[in-house]
């Protein structure tokens, strides 16, 4: 580590790929055992192991980047490409659900009554809570940009405040979606409308929760002085992810909530 002649990061041997793989094995096998034998022991074990792996692996990446200085400019470039590819794969993940939705809604089958929304489905009003949700997510896109500029200008206090505001807006969105789900006049079992609606918006909601967690980790790291005005890729990755979640919502809102109702 002391005298290498190149800028790339030679990682220490790590146990986390192994523990993560076993965590995934226990989680999947545990789910099968749960469904067949009503025992959640193995699934719980898998969940704990996966969470322990996630915590320690990401903790080590912070140690390598912030404390050991391994995230040199060429390494950061690799991290950037990695995050871009990851978000691209997420785009295709959601493209699948939009495909299912448009496949079902553009040529509704006779079983649905030949119309969309299908006969018997009462949809949510897109100009009530869903419109508020759109405003909340757009506002959070503004506050995360405010946080980024504060970080670049070295405005520590403003960065902390704007990032906190972004996370609070994320929680508010999740809360409103929870209320909508609770009050929805249809369920996931109500034919293809319910399936496409809840699978698409449900996975989006999961991504909002993941994005809020990512931003919360960034807030903690900002409070702990991990970010400098020129080196804060962890935050930028979280901001990219947040914008991605925001854009997916705009498509969901326009397609499913508005046009689809």
């Amino acid at each position: 580590m002391a005298h290498q002649a190149h800028a790339f990061h030679m990682v220490d041997p790590s146990p986390w790929p192994l523990t993560g793989a076993v965590g995934a094995l226990l989680l999947t096998s545990g789910t099968a055992i749960w469904f067949h034998f009503h025992s959640i022991t193995l699934a719980t074990l898998g969940l704990i192991l996966t969470i322990l792996t996630m915590y320690q692996w990401w903790r080590d990446i912070i140690r390598e980047g912030t404390f050991q200085g391994h995230h040199t400019p060429p390494v950061q470039k690799g991290l950037r490409y990695g995050m871009i590819l990851f978000i691209t794969s997420e785009v295709f993940f959601f493209a699948g659900f939009f495909w299912a939705f448009y496949h079902s809604s553009l040529a509704p089958t006779p079983e649905l009554g030949g119309c969309w929304p299908p006969t018997g489905i009462t949809t949510l009003d897109p100009f009530e809570v869903p419109l508020l949700n759109t405003a909340v997510l757009l506002a959070s896109g503004v506050t995360v940009t405010w946080a980024h500029h504060s970080l670049m200008e070295g405005e520590r206090k403003q960065a902390i405040q704007s990032l906190t505001l972004t996370i609070l807006l994320g929680f508010y969105f999740t809360f409103l979606q929870g209320m909508e789900y609770y009050e929805a006049p249809f369920t996931i079992a109500d034919g293809v409308y319910g399936s496409t609606f809840f699978v698409a918006t449900g996975f989006h909601g999961l991504h909002v929760i993941i994005g809020s967690t990512f931003l919360a980790v960034c807030l903690l790291r900002q409070v702990l002085y991990h970010f400098t005005s020129s080196h804060h890729f962890g935050f930028e990755a979280a901001a990219w992810y947040w914008h991605f979640v925001d854009v997916v919502w705009l498509f969901l809102y326009v397609s499913i909530y508005w046009w689809g109702s």
Binding site: M1, A2, D12, P13, S14, P15, W16, L18, T19, V22, G23, L25, L26, S29, G30, A32, I33, H36, F37, T41, L42, L45, G46, I48, L49, L52, T53, Q56, D60, R63, E64, T66, F67, Q68, G69, H149, M152, E153, E155, R156, K157, I160, V223, L224, Y225, H226
Partner: protein, 115 residues
């Protein structure tokens, strides 16, 4: 002394004479940027006693020193006892969990007993 208005904050910041000679014409004055003096917001007396560090002190330099110590310990154990404890718990769950999982899958693979 040269200043320019920052496009982002809207405040005055120190600048090099380049800001006054955008075509690259050589200025006849030193190119050292002037330290910024009055761009900071005015502090009233009551605020001046507030601690310099907003929300805690910066411990990053100490941690950098600690994690950059050349002692051959891998990064996941470098912080000491707590690291070791977490690592051993995780590894124990990994080994124990694998055995338990194989056993559970073996039992699940047995044919159902006729009732």
């Amino acid at each position: 002394m040269y200043y320019k208005v920052s496009g982002v904050t809207g405040k005055l910041t120190g600048a090099t004479p380049a800001a006054y000679a955008p075509q690259g014409l050589r200025a006849t004055v030193p190119t050292e940027p002037t330290p910024m003096i009055f761009a900071a917001p005015t502090k009233v007396v009551s605020e001046k006693t507030a601690p310099v560090d907003y929300m805690g002190v910066n411990k990053v330099p100490e941690l950098q020193k600690m994690f950059q110590k050349s002692d051959g310990i891998p990064v996941h154990l470098k912080r000491g006892v707590m690291d070791k404890l977490l690592y051993r718990t995780t590894m124990g769950l990994t080994i124990g969990g694998t055995l338990y999982c194989l056993m559970a899958l073996y039992i699940a693979a047995q044919p159902r007993k006729p009732e």
